[in-house]
């Protein structure tokens, strides 16, 4: 049905050009894939560290690694998984790849900044890994003083601070870009309420990054002064207060949980309706609940500190605020269920990971309400109950969602289909391994096993062995995925432009999309989730015809549009604005002549409305 020749030609072009993925590219799609591959690489490293941690915990004694190394293992495991896997994959990876495509823009608002943000990650990651040579940080990813000031090697702790600062900076730069891109670069006719829900989620997550991350940077810089300059901001021997650090740390690090889960909520809101073949249930409720979670996420941080000497009235405030988050989260979960209900579910790998996300995240959500309750949290704080809870949110939630998103958008990114059978094997192994690994931890924590210990009471051995076996299954479960992804990328069947018959704009271009994304500026002809509505299909076919008609269009400088590379537009002195002869381009005066530096409604990277089909009446010409 779909014209496959386009996709094939495009693939050949990118096939000869694989080197672009290893260089400084300003194409948001290249950067997105760079983010995804890099962060998945670090996910494997973080997973290896986790396997070492579980191997140590297979027996009650500290016999596999030394207690110091054990502390470093779980510290670096958490740091890698948060700062080098989920945050960069969810915001940097999918955010970069999808946002411009979904809003019909040709690139992000600040393409060079975007590349800079990515290229801060590999050095920071390598720095963090190299700290094992000098004795890596071992005070937990929270790095509470005074322990972090006096524990183990100062070099390791300092490297940890440095790399987290770098990763935080990268995350801030990315967030600025998303914010401007989403607010200023949407195609005409796409109001905020016509955006795909992933854009709403990224907007909410970017706000959290912009507000929270600088505070973490402040805390870490003060901590580094305590560490190397002998100041006493947090060191009680000099009159400092260690609890102040905890406030500053959690002011970022609780919102960080939402930075990790909100984009995934957005991905699920894309995946579920496309494969259930139904409009998303309650678009505005889901969109605005993202904002509500984002706001509430900023005022709940002290629930991590119920036992650290927080005044009583403050504990009550943070308990109530935390519990209120259950309301917007509940709205989302019920809306997804209602979207699934009565649909025609295509149970492919993306969909089963999406449904797996809902089923696992709900466990983390329920235990989240429990630990919000102060009297109960006093019992389970810093125990394996918390370890179970956070993994149900961040693995059962974020990682399941990320896998679902990888299966869903893989054809768009690579132009190849993934193997469904191996996708299902991957899901089964992940689901079984995950629950075996983390479900017993609830009981361990309630019965009295604290977290971050290398040796534990022998009465907990049996359950710990189950957890360790589960973790090995989880480790093995990545193999089918890796093989499937690698093989499909090279040899998989060619993907049509829109294999899932989805309605968001990224599916209206070829797979993979050309440089600058669209052969012809897209128009918003249907809502992002108008499944089952009569005109949606008609409009989609009309747009496909339009696309074919314009594939031969050329840029003003004579390069066929479908063979265009970013360098043709962005390098050199001939910007397309200057050489364009159309009078309408004249009218679009740029704030800055250099397209790299320009943003906003007049940006050359922004699509123009189609007078025939534009949704916004202002952009339509009746003639």
């Amino acid at each position: 049905m779909e014209p496959a020749d386009l996709a094939a030609r495009e693939h050949e072009e990118s096939g000869t050009n694989w080197r672009k993925f290893f260089g400084f590219s300003t194409d948001h799609k290249v950067i997105g894939i760079q983010y995804l591959v890099t962060s998945f690489f670090f996910y494997l490293i973080g997973g290896a560290l986790a396997s070492a941690v579980r191997t140590e915990l297979a027996t009650p004694d500290a016999d596999f690694v030394s207690p110091d190394l054990y502390n470093s293992l779980f510290t670096i495991h958490a740091t890698v998984m948060i700062f080098l896997w989920i945050v960069p994959a969810a915001t940097g990876g999918f955010g970069n790849y999808l946002i411009p495509l979904m809003i019909g823009a040709r690139d992000m608002a600040f393409p060079r900044l975007n590349a800079v943000a990515f290229w801060m990650i590999p050095p920071a990651g390598i720095l963090l890994m190299s700290s094992f040579f000098v004795g890596a940080a071992g005070s937990g990813w929270t790095s509470y003083p005074p322990l972090s000031i006096i524990n183990g090697s100062k070099a390791g702790e300092f490297i940890w601070i440095l790399s987290v600062l770098l990763l935080g900076t990268s995350s801030i730069l990315g967030a600025v870009n998303f914010f401007v891109t989403i607010l200023k670069m949407r195609i005409p006719g796409m109001g905020l309420n016509q955006m795909p829900l992933f854009c709403w989620a990224m907007l909410a997550a970017s706000a959290l990054i912009l507000i929270g991350t600088p505070v973490l940077a402040g805390a870490l810089i003060l901590l580094s002064f305590d560490l190397i300059a002998g100041t006493a901001f947090f060191n009680p021997t000099g009159g400092g207060d260690p609890v102040v650090y905890q406030h500053m740390f959690w002011f970022y690090s609780h919102p960080a949980v939402y930075i990790m889960i909100l984009p995934v909520f957005g991905m699920i809101s894309e995946i579920i309706p496309a494969h259930a073949r139904k409009p998303i249930f309650g678009y505005r409720a889901i969109a605005y609940s993202s904002l509500a979670i984002s706001f509430l996420g900023l005022i709940v941080w002290a629930h991590h500190m119920f036992t650290s000497g927080t005044p009583a009235w403050l504990r009550m405030f943070f308990m109530i605020a935390t519990m209120i988050i259950a309301v917007p989260t509940g709205i989302k979960v019920f809306s997804w269920l209602a979207t699934i209900w009565g649909g025609k579910l295509r149970l492919n790998s993306a969909m089963i990971f999406g449904m797996g996300f809902i089923s696992m995240f709900v466990v983390g959500g329920l235990s989240g309400i429990m630990v919000a309750s102060v009297p109960f949290d006093i019992h389970v704080h810093d125990t394996y109950f918390i370890v179970a809870h956070l993994h149900y949110v961040l693995f059962g939630g974020s990682v399941f969602g990320l896998y679902g998103a990888l299966y869903h958008w893989f054809p768009k990114m690579t132009g190849r289909m993934m193997n469904e059978t191996w996708g299902k094997v991957h899901f089964a192994l992940t689901f079984i391994g995950f629950n075996m690994c983390f479900l017993p931890m609830h009981k361990l924590g309630l019965e009295g096993m604290p977290r971050r210990v290398a040796m534990y009471d022998p009465k907990f051995t049996a359950l710990n062995v189950v957890c360790t076996v589960g973790s090995y299954i989880l480790a093995v479960s990545t193999i089918p995925f890796l093989v499937n992804a690698a093989w499909s990328w090279l040899r998989g069947p060619k993907a049509p432009d829109n294999p899932w018959q989805a309605l968001t704009l990224e599916w209206m271009t070829s797979s993979p999309p050309p440089v600058e994304n669209f052969y012809k500026d897209p128009v918003l002809a249907s809502g992002p989730y108008d499944y089952g509505m009569v005109n949606a299909l008609v409009i989609r076919q009309k747009m496909m015809k339009g696309k074919e008609a314009t594939t031969e269009r050329k840029t003003p400088s004579g390069i066929p549009l479908n063979q265009l590379k970013a360098s043709d537009l962005l390098g050199g002195s001939s910007s397309i604005v200057q050489s364009a002869s159309d009078a309408e381009v004249e009218a679009q005066t740029l704030q800055d002549e250099d397209p790299m530096l320009s943003g906003g409604p007049n940006s050359v990277l922004r699509a123009k409305p189609d007078p025939e089909e534009a949704v916004n009446p202002d952009d339509r010409q009746d003639s």
């Binding site: 030394s66 998303i280 009550m316 309400i369 009297p375 006093i378 604290p450």
Partner: protein, 334 residues
């Protein structure tokens, strides 16, 4: 939708409620409750467990049912019904979580209050004069602070943590000063002068722990009491509870405190009041015996070098004969 399922739904709802209630009572996830406050926390957890079980089965039930009932039939490439939303339904499922968290919130508040969680603030406000006990701290070294610590009065002491429950008197029956250090706990009983590595408490009497730390942050946790409080260097926190069940329970450090964090544990021994008094007595005897020893110890600075070295020389087996031989060999060399 065809609903011959009014009755099916009703039955499913009843079964779900019964299962949830049963799970809430019989989950068997918590260890024995050894303090009076622990029972309150358990009641709260059981309630939350009941509600969570219900919600869990609703969500998973919908997912599993959908997989079988709504899966795409082969050859069917049409879309589902274009339902965009349903305002009453959305209001309903906004209201349900809101009501649930209201119930859990009020219940948590009640439990927290009757455990005494609100007391530390009510009793003494938030003073900036935090008890700084760190050795080496210039502020802590003032005489004023030291005398204050020797006899802490409830109104002056900073106390974050869990305090006296409203129906208990302001003064606890037994006070214990708890100090955490890498990697041990020290329990000092200011009333009787006893110091111990294990915590002994009597049943039925309210105990107040004044918790502090010497080096890094530790956390005092007794799972059987459902109580945990960080031990923070530079400030004192408090925990109050009334032990109920005789037995020996672990005291665990729950805040990462260094390499051997996992090994930092001791025991709390809940005894009958008689046994407890006997234990205090025996400890006082040991302590006084130790004091006698200390009184007999010699001040080395008051002795000459010979006097000081004599016992060591004796231990090494150096007699006047060996000294003679030394002298002899000395002469041979020249």
């Amino acid at each position: 939708m065809k609903i011959p399922s009014n009755i099916t739904t009703l039955i499913a709802g009843i079964v779900l409620t019964l299962v949830s209630l049963w799970v809430g009572k019989n989950h068997g996830l918590l260890p024995v409750a050894a303090s009076e406050e622990a029972a309150l926390v358990d009641g709260l957890f059981n309630t939350m467990m009941t509600i969570s079980t219900g919600l869990f089965f609703i969500v998973e039930g919908v997912l599993v049912y959908s997989i079988f009932r709504f899966r795409r039939r082969p050859g069917d490439n049409t879309d589902g019904p274009p339902t965009h939303g349903n305002v009453p339904l959305e209001i309903l499922w906004t209201a349900i979580p809101a009501v649930i968290i209201l119930i859990i919130g009020v219940y948590s508040f009640e439990v927290y209050n009757s455990m005494g969680g609100l007391d530390p603030m009510a009793a003494h406000g938030h003073s900036m004069q935090q008890a700084r006990k760190m050795p080496g701290s210039a502020i802590a070294a003032t005489l004023d602070e030291n005398t204050q610590q020797a006899a802490p009065t409830p109104t002056e002491q900073i106390a974050d943590g869990v305090g006296a429950s409203p129906d208990k008197s302001a003064n606890p029956n037994l006070e214990v000063n708890v100090t955490g250090l890498q990697f041990a706990w020290i329990f000092a009983y200011p009333d009787s002068g006893v110091t111990s590595g294990e915590l002994h408490v009597p049943t039925g009497r309210e105990v107040k722990l004044n918790i502090s730390a010497n080096d890094v942050i530790h956390a005092f946790w007794v799972p059987e009491f459902r109580l945990k409080q960080d031990a923070i260097p530079g400030r004192t926190t408090e925990l109050r509870f009334t032990p109920k069940t005789v037995g020996t329970y672990p005291v665990i450090c729950a805040e990462l405190c260094g390499s051997y964090h996992g090994g930092m544990k001791t025991q709390v021994i809940v005894q009958t009041p008689e046994e407890f008094d006997a234990w205090v007595q025996s400890q006082q005897e040991v302590a006084s015996a130790e004091n006698l020893d200390r009184a007999l110890a010699i001040n080395p600075q008051a002795m000459s070098t010979g006097e000081f070295l004599a016992p060591y020389a004796g231990e090494m087996g150096i007699t006047s004969d060996t000294l003679e031989q030394l002298h002899a060999s000395h002469h041979h060399q020249f």
